[in-house]
Amino acid sequence: MRAFPVTITVALAAALVATGCSSAPEESAAGSTVRLLAHESFVVSEALVEQLEEETGITLEIISGADAGTMVAGAVLAAGNPTADAMFGVDSTLLSRALDAGVFEPYTSPELDTVIPSLREDTGGGMVTPIDYGDVCINIDDAALAAAGVPAPTTLDDLIDPTYRDMLVVQDPATSSPGLAFLLATIARYGDGWTDYWSALRDNGVSVAASWTDAYIGQFSGGGDGTRPLVVSYATSPPAEIVYAAEPKPEAPSTSAMADGCYRQVEYAGVLAGTPNPEGARVVVDWLLSQAVQADVPLSMFVFPAREGIALPEVFADFALDVPEPLALPAGEVAAGLPDWLAEWGSVMGR
């Protein structure tokens, strides 16, 4: 009887060792498994994965890293001895932290030439490859504003006008990715004067939600049962309103995105430093930038493809706002300033 628990322990240890040994490195990509670490919003059509596996002989295993921030945190801690071979979804606000920690090993995809030139400017010195981009913009419930006889706002400055008192809901930048992007947009626009802008927003009755869901579904009049007609969301939220509408689909969305004050986020992929399968990882990065996957990106993740000349789906072409002059901050500046900005934002907003 005494042997019972000992047996279990030995069996457990044996199981651990066995699974450990099974993931030995392979020399060439074909026949190997590539583990792609991606944030929870990563979506790709099954057919594309099958096609990749057929054409290259690799097996793709997609691993969730929770939200992008937590995923990058995990990658930073595991830098040099990674938990996957490639990573997708590190965005421009997180990039410099990942680069500083040595998360990636250099790789320049042969497909990089196909990327929109402005996105090609920052690849972390040949470390990462831009895959998609999206803009965080103020979304407007046009129907609600029209019913109230109020013209739609057109600039960030309009939002502090008493006309829009108690109408805007934003997200807490400390807990929400679009919330952080909107904070960065105001810093990019107003420089050191950003705290005054936020004081004015506060005095104009802005509501701060913890998450996108809480803001858009809970408080925005265009997205659910809420009462506020202005919300921080994405430039692609209006077409998503159509795609995920009830049948019969409406002709046009009842919401629109405001062109001014949008903050651009670029999402990158890269080969993780120390991977036992760099060849396979490179194949997957190239695949993410391939014509087929890039064409799939809009309806899978509601972002724009980084590759030039990709035909957008009709609903995108019609209703997704192509932001003319997005705001952005250099990644290094964001990493350096963020802790202080969040603290200052907290004291301005009394949170």
Binding site: M1, T9, L12, V17, E40, T70
Partner: protein, 532 residues
Amino acid sequence: MTLPAWLRWSWVLPAAFLAVFLAYPLATLVRTIASSAGGFAADLVDTSLWQVAGLAVLQALASTLLALLIGLPLANVATRYRYRGRALVQALVTVPFVLPTVVVALAVRSLLGPGMPQGLALVVIAHAYVNLAVVTRIVGSQWAQQTGELELVARTLGASRWRAFVDVTLPGLRPSIITSAAVVFVFSFSSLGIVLLLGDATTRTLESQVLRQVSVLLDFPGAAASAIVQLVVVSLVLLLGAVASRGQSSRRRRPVPLHPLPTLPGPRLAVLGTAAFGSAIVLLPIIALVLASLRGPAGWTLDWWASLGSVDAGTTRLAPPSAALATSLGYAAVTALVAALVGGAAALAILVPGRARVIAVIGMVPLGVSAATLGLGTLLAFGRPPFDLRGTGLLVPVAHALVAVPLVIAVVTPALRGTDPRLAALAATLGARASRAFWTAHGPVLRVAMVASAALAGAVSLGEFGAAAFLARTDSPTVPVQIVRLLGRPGDQSVGVAAALAVVLVVVTLLLVLLIDRWGSTRTSRRSAVAA
């Protein structure tokens, strides 16, 4: 009674489980942080850390008080009286505990939001709502063992109904009240989703602090300091709870039948009214969910339910939303198995004199470990060679089992304690060896308790979100992860399908909990001893 010798070794399984899947990942994380950032001692003396901790303590105390205030009367009517629908009331109360926090937060917000701004009050109400089950289950299991005769004695000695409750009932329930209060405190103190969704600046927890430090600031030393303070506070509370709940064990071991409803109109109304009130509290948000799943922009519709089977309505472009149910049930089944084995062994170990307190406290510690911390630690420890367990699909059930084991221990232990040790003595005098005698005495109860724990762990697994978001594969989300993702995109369909999926989750959970109660109950509904 003479305990069989092998029983002394039953602690090895739970100890090994916790060492491998809790201590090792945490140690890996701490080692990594210490080596990459040069330590975090300085962060431990940061005043803002202690400010957050202090506010979290106050919030958790308020949440615990409210949960007890509503939970105690519910425990009374859900476990002691015989009336139609009692089993359903008992099962319903468990539902909030397994609903994803996002769903709870949206429901509480939509019911109370207009009159109550985001902040401490909403957070406390939501915590009390979620933790009702903890109070009713733990206190109820002890209350159900009380016959009411002691109260009757106090009444004949001149005590009013209320006085008898305070003088006799409460002291008798003290161990379970303290245990459940400690658990509710720990859950509220380390709460994440509800605090993020319904709280404001003053209602932070260390857990939300950890998430912010990890995922926004990448401030690992600060996060480690917060996580450690949280773990220390939680361990202290559990230890205090274990010490304070040490009570004289009840002399009465025979199963107590359910009481008939009081015949006097006042008390009768009080029992039925409390049952109705409790069910209403639990049901209101669920009814709101059902309505949301049946309502479209153009009125009533079944589209959302139909969409459960459509790939286009899903979030993966691989499988329909309903596929998440299969994923969740799969994880739940493995979790149930692991938790029943580990929890059952831990409960057996608790029977050994002298070890009980230590094992009960250690078994509860997973409750206090930050999900983000454990997620990162697990990733570092088991997400890469030499121990890469991700491909095995074991990590999610293991993480769920870590959450469920403390609850399983809480359920199994009282059941084992409740068996009559004289049975084993009797079996021994009839010539049974110690092992045989032990099984004769404890076997049937243990079997019932383990089946019940398996179902309970399964229910916990079905509703768990934090670990699943971290460890589940992106292409095969669990039901709560699927619901959260659906609620993370625009469109009527997203909300409607999420509501339908949440209703499915509620129904599956209810069925599981009804099964727990059926199997877990050894009580009959004979007439009460007083009236027979």
